[in-house]
């Protein structure tokens, strides 16, 4: 089996999850993950694992830009009094079945983009040197960043719980 195929078997799920946490659309995350591996087949990179996540991060970034453009377009339509009164901003159309999922999602959004990126790369299975190489962070700073990101994520999550508890007690 060729090296890329092995990598595909072992990391596809992690790549999809990594992308999902950026684009928040499971189907889109899978499309992008497949696109990443198709590109890897065309390029045959030297360090395929790091390469795959670097390209995934780029695709997710492009996707986010496109989403911003779409949202702007929606806002324009919304401002038009006759057209499409049912259109909602993107955040509202995001279906959050599970409240707990929404809570983590929100906690994650509290992090700075850099902290979030490094936390997600770590969670996707990248090593410290791989994270450092991809993000341009010094190797020694990866631990510091992860320490902060983890603390903030858990704090933000717990704070929400506390807020919700207080809210429930008052009403």
């Amino acid at each position: 089996m060729d090296e890329l195929e092995l990598l595909y078997q072992s990391t596809y799920t992690a790549v999809v999850r990594f992308l999902y946490r950026k684009v928040w659309d499971a189907e889109r995350a899978e499309d992008l993950a497949q696109e990443v591996f198709v590109r890897a087949l065309a390029h045959r990179p030297d360090k395929p694992r790091a390469w795959v996540f670097a390209v995934a991060a780029n695709l997710a970034r492009d996707e986010a830009r496109a989403a911003v453009r779409r949202k702007r377009h929606l806002t324009l339509l919304k401002g038009d009094p006759v057209a499409h009164p049912t259109i909602q901003p993107a955040a509202d159309t995001l279906v959050e079945h599970d409240e707990r999922v929404a809570a983590v999602h929100e906690a994650l959004s509290v992090l700075t983009p850099r902290d979030r990126e490094i936390l997600l790369l770590w969670d996707a299975g990248l090593s410290y040197p791989e994270i450092a190489a991809q993000t341009g962070l010094a190797l020694g700073a990866v631990g510091t960043t992860l320490a902060r990101a983890r603390r903030r994520l858990v704090e933000a999550h717990d704070r929400q719980h506390a807020d919700k508890g207080n809210h429930a007690a008052h009403s």
Partner: protein, 334 residues
Amino acid sequence: MRHIPEEELHAYLDQGLSRSQCVEIESHLASCPSCQAARDGIAALRDRTTALLAKLAPPRNFPPPFDSLRRRAALEATARRRRVHAAAWAASLVAALGVGWTASSLVIQRPIPPGQPAQPAAAVPQATPRVDPAVVRPRPSTAVPARVIRQSRRRPAAVARDTTGSADSLRPVDTLPLIALPTLELSSIDIPRADFDMELGGMWRTLSWDGAQAEAGDKLPHIDGLPVVQVQLQTVEEGKKPLMVVAQQLASGEVIRTIEGPMNDVSHLLAGRTMTDPDPSARVDSSYAGAEPINLDRTMAMQRGDRMLVITGALPQDSLRAMIRRLNAEMRSK
């Protein structure tokens, strides 16, 4: 004895430390209850983070067979080759038809950006003698050169961005001391798009992508993943790597060019766009340029030994800088 800092405990638990660092930490942990407690706290924090993130997993996740991706990659490669061939053929046709237009277009000189002091161009060989703006008569608006109008109408947004951008970070090519660039220093220069599109003096050949690769080896300067519109090569010296220009199109339709070649030749090529004006009075002077914003492409140059890598296109400077850095890294790894 010094206690272990929090981030080192994270790195230790994440297996992000060297063997010797681990040994050091373990020997300290064995005799330090407070650091043991800190380690346990961090291990718990780590587990909680992982558990929280695990909730953010997409619902369904079956990898399609790898062979289906292989087929897709093969199909895309074929399609890409076809596109490049067609584009190269069309480009040579356009180049042949465009010769007459080129000659007439070269009459207009590149403008000096507003607020740009005239500097001596000592470092660039054969620089055009500067025309004192005071000597040049401001034109009446009816005499606006046709090309200037065309450019500003074509890309009004970019024009606005260019004129509001920092004047110090953009330097016109004929005042940039290209030769004096320190190794791997980035510099930014601007040049008008139309001149750059058409004026390639000397013995230039337009090749297909495959042909160019056969000639230049793996080192054709290009951005992976973008369709190649045109590849041009200029043989510099027998047995030496040629001067190469690869034009690629972005999804937005903008064309970017990557140029790689011996430093002097690339400098000449860039400086050349300002040396072709046969009539100094045809120059658009800076006060006039201020009234009518002129669209400028941006260029990033990077010195690599005795060769130079350049990227140019109507893109934000950050994008160009990121592109040239990546390009440089890629070309070095080949």
